[in-house]
Every structure is written in structure tokens, then in C-alpha cells.
């Protein structure tokens, strides 16, 4: 383990002192050879980011970093003075962060940011800096580098910003590039391009340390994978072995959480479901015998424009009881606008929404109010959808009350049990619940009104993969047990594949493909769908 380009042995990072000290990395060891790609995979709080930043001496304020060995090309990094550290950073090790808007200084032109390492390390004479910046930008695939260099980060798309960030990290030709969640928050097609860019860099001899929460993302690039949890590496080995024959149960959990195939469901359950979860007094339309596909919500030719720009155009679909319609699209595709129109929160400019056969759009709010409980939202960020003064129990009681149902402790406990939560959590404030628990409370609130339809807008995006997988199972279970129809919106094709009966693929406000999940995923007709599927990170190695 000590002959690599970078050797790390027994790295320990802790924050604070005394009994309140928190250990972020607890004896981490690995090495990276020249031109090799090691992936460090783990969920939030696993210590992967702290580990990565310790390698460039930037673990953060108050961090205590110790290591049995920390060497780069045989040089002991633990003994570096601050000045020597500055010479290593940017020159020998480059760091790329997540593609956030503020990963590059938003007040400075992109070109100035890329030029900074060149000027700091004086690897090219000052007169040649501008020419080199343009070269670097062109090299990472930024079109029109002259124009882009003069622009500010906010004027670039997420993908271009990430390319510029990579260009600045690579400016001095470092031997090692550390990429911390380099594709998170990017659309899947852009994500694939960035991964290709990193792969090309590795092919040219740069070693790569790739940090990610997503096994599927690293699968196509990593030579070796180290899985981290609670500051420890629980599994470490060649990528092919870790992905196909994981030894540690946690790795298996992470692998299972990569949604690739539909969740199994029994046809019997599905047929028997309909009477549960319905108001007893309301059995006229679409009862159990009326056929399993009674349409609950339907949209016809929906259109919406904001300030003359078309956000959504010509969207039509039908969702039957117990069915799930997956809506897929990248950011800006109009899927959230569709969700808000279906929920009756935004009036469509064109087309109509019908709920349980009756008009839902174009109706006065006063008349819509009594029916609102029939269709309920589940948001991406549950915490912001809770009144910050309310406990979980009060949130649910309030929702039961809104639906004119009894709102006592027992009913609240029943709701919590329904979403797999301990009824004791009723007294807690949501901000003291975990992300997964928060989303379950949000689902419970939606169920309080006994809805026929759930409209879920990216309900899993804010969750860690293993948590997301369990919440996804809850959605599948509720669908089967209660016969709730849902509109399931996600940018993640794997998730949509797993839960949906039918799928709608959106691009620039329009539907480009529509059909059964089976057909769309196995035999996509539209080139855009094919591109999306090709870009989808899978566990298979390319």
C-alpha cells in the first residue's frame, strides 16, 4: 500500500475537543496509483468529503487531522508548512467541488478564475496566461472560450460551469484530481458528459479520486471503490468485484438502493385494493367492480406560459386508481409546472384537468376547496412544507381537521403507523426528525385527507440513497394497499422505472414520449429518451 502516487494510512479527522469531539474519519487507509481512479462512496455524514479535503489540508476550521502516513510522490504531506501546502494545492493536487452556482466566485469572470492558479503558481509567464486560459477552456470542451472567459459563472449552464471549474483545477497539470460530488445537481445527460471528461483526463495520466454518494455514478469510471460509512471504510476493492460481489452488507444495501427494476407487486393485491382508503359514503363511481382502471385524474392539452415563454404545451394523460404515472425530464422541462396545474395551484392557460371525472381546472377556488383533499402534494423538501411552529402530531391533526375527520391522538398515531413511523414521534418537531422521517410525515399528512391522487414532485431527491429506497418502497406499498393513484415526478429515470406503470418523458415543456414503463424503458421511440437512458448511470461497467 505504500508504493502508490498517493498513500494514506490510518487517517483520523476529528472536530472539537474533549467529550464533545466528533470523529469524521476514523482510521482511513487507501492509495492511488498514477492514472488510476479510486472512488470513495458513502452517504452524507460518512466522512468522505472530510477525508478528501484532508488530502489538500482543507479539512476545515477546528479539524484535527492525524495520519500514520500521508504521502504524495513520497513527500510527507503531514509535515508541510502552510506555505508548502499552498504550493501543493492547485499545482500537484486539483480539487473540483459539486457544480454549485458558487463553486466559482460569482463576482469574477470565469476566465479570471481559471487564470488564478496559473498566476499563483507562475507555471506560465504572465504574458501567456490569457492564451493558456483559452486553451484550458477549449480543452475541457467549453465552446467559444473567448466569449465564455469574459462571462460570469451565473451566465453559464451548470454543465459549462462544471467544465470551467475542472479547467481551473487542471490549470497547472496536477498529478491528482480530487472530484467531490462533481456531477451532483446536474442533469443526467450533462452528468454523463462530465464523467466522460474526467475519464478522458484519467486516460491522459491524471490520477482521480472520485467522491460520490451514488454507486451508479462511479461505476463507469472507478478502477477501485472504497465504501465509507461513519468515518470507516467498510469495503474496499476492485470496482468490478465490489459492484458484482459485495462483501459488506452496507454495500449490498447501497447497491439494492440503486433503482433499476420495477418494484414487484401482486396483481391480486391490486384488484382487491380499491375499497380500502375510500370514504364509505362515496362508492358510486369507480368502485371495485367498475374495473381496475377507473380514471381518477386526467389532463387534456395542458398549456402554460410565463411572460410569453412557453413552460408547458400540449400535455395530456390519464391516471387510474392504483396507477402511477412517472413524469421524467431534466430541469426546465416543465414537469413541476404540470404538477402545480394538476394540483390546482396554477391555472392552465390551455387545456383542462379533470379530477374523478369532474372539472378541476377553471373552477372557482371556493368551489374547489371542498374537493382539495382528494388530491394531495408531496414535495421535495418536506421540512419547508411544515409550519415551523407545529409538531409532527399537530401537523397531522391539522390535516385531519381540514378533511373533517376526527383529529385525536389515536387517529394521528394511526396515520404515523401507516407510513411506518413510531407514534411516539408525534410530539417531535419535524426539524428534529431525519430526512426520511420528515418525508414520511409529509406523506402521512397527504394521506390524512384520504386522497385518491398523490402528486409527488421529486419526493426522493433530498434523501440519501438508502433512505430514498425505503421511502420508494413505502410509495409502492401505499399504492398497492390504498389504491392511491399518483403522479410521480423525478429527474431520476431509475426511480421512475421502479415505481411507474406509465411514463411521460418531457423536454422543453412538451411531451416527447409517452407509454407504458415497460415500453419506454426497453424500447424507447424518441431519440431524446434514448439519450436519457444512455446517460443513465448503471452498475454495468462501460
Amino acid at each position: 500500500m505504500s508504493d502508490g502516487l498517493l498513500n494514506v494510512r490510518d487517517l483520523r479527522v476529528s472536530f472539537g475537543t474533549g467529550p464533545r469531539a466528533v470523529t469524521a474519519a476514523d482510521g482511513v487507509s487507501f492509495s492511488i496509483a498514477e492514472g488510476e481512479c479510486l472512488a470513495l462512496v458513502g452517504e452524507s455524514g460518512s466522512g468522505k468529503s472530510v477525508t478528501a479535503r484532508s488530502l489538500v489540508g482543507l479539512a476545515g476550521a477546528g479539524a484535527h487531522v492525524r495520519a500514520g502516513e500521508l504521502t504524495l510522490r513520497g513527500r510527507d504531506l503531514t509535515r508541510l508548512s502552510p506555505r508548502e501546502w499552498r504550493d501543493v494545492r492547485g499545482r500537484e493536487i486539483g480539487l473540483v467541488l459539486q457544480a454549485a452556482l458558487v463553486a466559482l466566485d460569482p463576482l469574477r469572470p470565469v476566465g479570471a478564475e481559471v487564470a488564478e492558479p496559473l498566476r499563483l503558481h507562475r507555471t506560465v509567464p504572465p504574458a501567456k496566461v490569457s492564451a493558456r486560459v483559452l486553451e484550458l477552456l477549449a480543452d475541457v470542451g467549453v465552446p467559444e472560450p473567448e466569449r465564455r472567459a469574459a462571462q460570469y459563472p451565473h451566465q453559464l449552464s451548470g454543465g459549462l460551469r462544471q467544465r470551467a471549474l475542472i479547467a481551473s483545477a487542471l490549470a497547472c497539470d496536477p498529478v491528482l484530481l480530487i472530484a467531490d460530488e462533481p456531477t451532483t445537481a446536474l442533469d443526467v445527460t450533462v452528468q454523463a458528459q462530465i464523467l466522460d471528461l474526467l475519464a478522458a483526463r484519467r486516460a491522459r495520466g491524471t490520477a482521480l479520486l472520485l467522491i460520490s454518494h451514488d454507486l451508479a455514478v462511479v461505476a463507469r469510471l472507478a478502477d477501485r471503490i472504497a465504501v465509507m460509512r461513519d468515518g470507516l471504510i467498510v469495503e474496499h476493492g476492485p470496482a468490478s468485484r465490489v459492484l458484482t460481489a459485495p462483501a459488506h452488507p452496507y454495500t449490498r444495501l447501497l447497491l439494492d438502493a440503486v433503482p433499476t427494476s420495477p418494484a414487484p407487486r401482486s396483481a391480486g393485491v391490486r384488484k382487491a385494493l380499491a375499497s380500502i382508503g375510500r370514504d364509505p359514503g362515496e362508492s358510486g363511481d369507480g368502485g371495485p367492480d367498475a374495473g381496475e382502471k377507473a380514471v381518477v385524474v386526467e389532463a387534456e392539452g395542458l398549456g402554460k406560459a410565463y411572460q410569453g415563454r412557453v413552460a408547458v404545451e400540449g400535455v395530456s394523460f390519464r391516471v387510474g386508481a392504483g396507477e402511477t404515472l412517472g413524469v421524467v425530464g431534466e430541469s426546465g422541462s416543465g414537469k413541476t409546472t404540470v404538477a402545480r396545474m394538476v394540483l390546482g395551484l396554477v391555472e392552465p392557460d390551455a387545456g383542462i384537468v379533470r379530477l374523478e371525472g369532474r372539472e378541476w381546472s377553471g373552477v372557482a377556488e371556493r368551489r374547489r376547496r371542498g374537493r382539495r383533499g382528494r388530491i394531495q402534494p408531496v414535495y421535495q423538501d418536506p421540512l419547508s412544507s411544515f409550519d415551523p411552529r407545529f409538531t409532527a402530531g399537530r401537523i397531522l391533526a391539522d390535516a385531519l381537521d381540514a378533511a373533517n375527520r376526527p383529529a385525536g391522538q389515536d387517529e394521528v398515531a394511526e396515520l404515523l403507523k401507516q407510513v411506518g413511523l413510531n407514534p411516539d414521534l408525534a410530539g417531535r418537531h419535524p426539524r428534529r426528525l431525519s430526512g426520511g422521517q420528515q418525508q414520511r410525515v409529509a406523506i402521512a399528512r397527504a394521506l390524512a385527507a384520504r386522497p385518491r391522487v398523490l402528486v409527488c414532485d421529486e419526493p426522493l431527491s433530498a434523501l440519501d440513497v438508502s433512505v430514498a429506497a425505503r421511502v420508494l418502497d413505502l410509495f409502492a406499498e401505499l399504492r398497492d394497499r390504498l389504491g392511491v393513484a399518483s403522479l410521480f415526478i423525478s429527474h431520476h429515470l431509475g426511480v421512475v422505472h421502479r415505481i411507474s406503470d406509465d411514463v411521460l418523458v418531457m423536454k422543453d415543456g412538451r411531451v416527447v414520449e409517452q407509454g407504458s414503463a415497460e415500453q419506454v424503458f426497453t424500447d424507447p421511440r424518441h431519440s431524446y429518451t434514448r439519450r436519457l437512458l444512455a446517460a443513465l448511470p448503471t452498475l454495468e461497467r462501460s
Binding site: T184, R372, Y379, S385, F386, A403, A449
Partner: protein, 283 residues
Amino acid sequence: MIDSTFRAAPGRALAGARPGVWLAFAFLALIVVASAAPGLLAHGSPDAADPLRTLQPPGAGHPLGTDQNGRDLYVRIVYGTRDSVLTGLGATVLALGAGVLVGGLSALGGRAADAVLMRAVDALLAIPGLVMALLMITALGGGTVNSMIAIAVIAAPGYARLVRAQLLVVRRSGYAEAAVALGRPPVLIAVRHLLPNALPPVLLLATLGSGAAIGATAALSYLGLGPAPPAPQWGAMLQQGQEYFSLAWWTAVAPGAVLTLTVLSLTVVGQYLQKLPAGRLER
């Protein structure tokens, strides 16, 4: 993705301020006592002049010395508390009421009302605070009540703006939308979710604002535009004693120090309260 270990533990910022906060609370308690029952803290009349003992330095019998008329400064300061403090507090309450009304109408009353009210608020804010107070005094005349109104007019536009901004944020929030999706009528949403979440920061600001209002009242008194001369108001005491400051520094120090401590205590307590409900405000 920055691991959560990078974030400082909430509440740590407060630990450092604690003794100061306690002192501030204690001083405010003293102020309350002095306003309600000045006799408990000081014996004798604030207007009892002693021509033989004018401008005595602090010492036995007169802990803070005497003024140019031989009146005991300590007694005068204690008895002046009520006037000095209540005018500012009254102004704050008036301003807060007007601010909530105007800000609420502006945020929830439709686009036309919003445009008109906010332009009016902008126009009021364009006249600097003290200048506005002087304008109001010119229009209304001097005196305690009028200076209270004048100071309320200065503060109200700020509260109106904050109330409006808070309401707009809260109205766009996920929980307001969730309440709409549950079929709740607008009035219920406003009463149950919007106002309770929008107003606490405004009330906290009012703590800081009441300090500023007390300072402004004293400033008006100092300019000779507050209550009539014999009243032992802190600002007025400073104005009346101005020509003796070079001879008797204590006449300049004592009333101003008490005034400063009052405003400072309100500032410290206000800042402390603003940080207190960490989970609620930082969202």
C-alpha cells in the same frame, strides 16, 4: 456536499453573551421599578432645590452630585425614568400597530393597495428620522404626547416594510401552499399560519426599536422640543445643564449614562432574543 460536521453547533454564539444579557435584564428590571414606583429607589423630591449646594460633586448625601439649582441628580434621574422611557415605548407600540396594519394590508390586500401603500411608505422613509420628527413637532407642537407621535411616525414605515416582507416570505412558503392544498380558506391560513410566523421577527425588532425610540425621545428633549422644562426628563436634564458641563462633569455624565445603559440593555436583550429561537428563525 459539505458534511454536517463543518457546521458550528447552534447556540454556541449565545454562550459568550450570557453575563451581558443577564446584566441587561437586571437593569431593565430596575428601570421598570423606577418607572412604576420611583419612591422605592429614591427618597426626596426631584424638584427640591437647595441654593446653597449647587453643582456639588458626587459624594455623601448626593451619590451623583447636584445640578445648577442644587437638586439631587440621582433623585431626578430616578423620577425622570417614567417620562423618558414611556414616551419611547408608547411611540414603539403606536408605530408597531400602524406598521402591522399597513404592512398586512399591503401584503394581503391586493396589488393596487400594495403599490399605493408601499410608495407612501417609501416617501415617508425618504425624510430622515430626526428631520421627520422635527417636521412633526413643527406641525403638532412640542410636548410629551406630540413627541411620542412624532417618533411613532419615524418608526412606523420600517415596521410596515418588515411586516410586509415577512408576510410575503411566509405566504410563498411550502406550508402555506400545503394549507391551500388541504382546502383551508384564506382567512384561516392567514390567522393560523401567516401571522404567527411573520410577526415574531417584527416583535423582536421592536425590542431594538424601542431602544432607538427612547434615544430619539431624549434627543428631542435635548433639542428643547420635548416636555416642558421642570419635568426631570433625561434628555432635558442634559440640555438644561449644558452650560455647566465644563465646570461640573457629573451633570453631563449621570443622565446620559443612565440613558445609554437603558438603550444598550434593550439592544442586548433584542439581539439575544433574535438569536434565541435558532431553529425557527434560521430556516
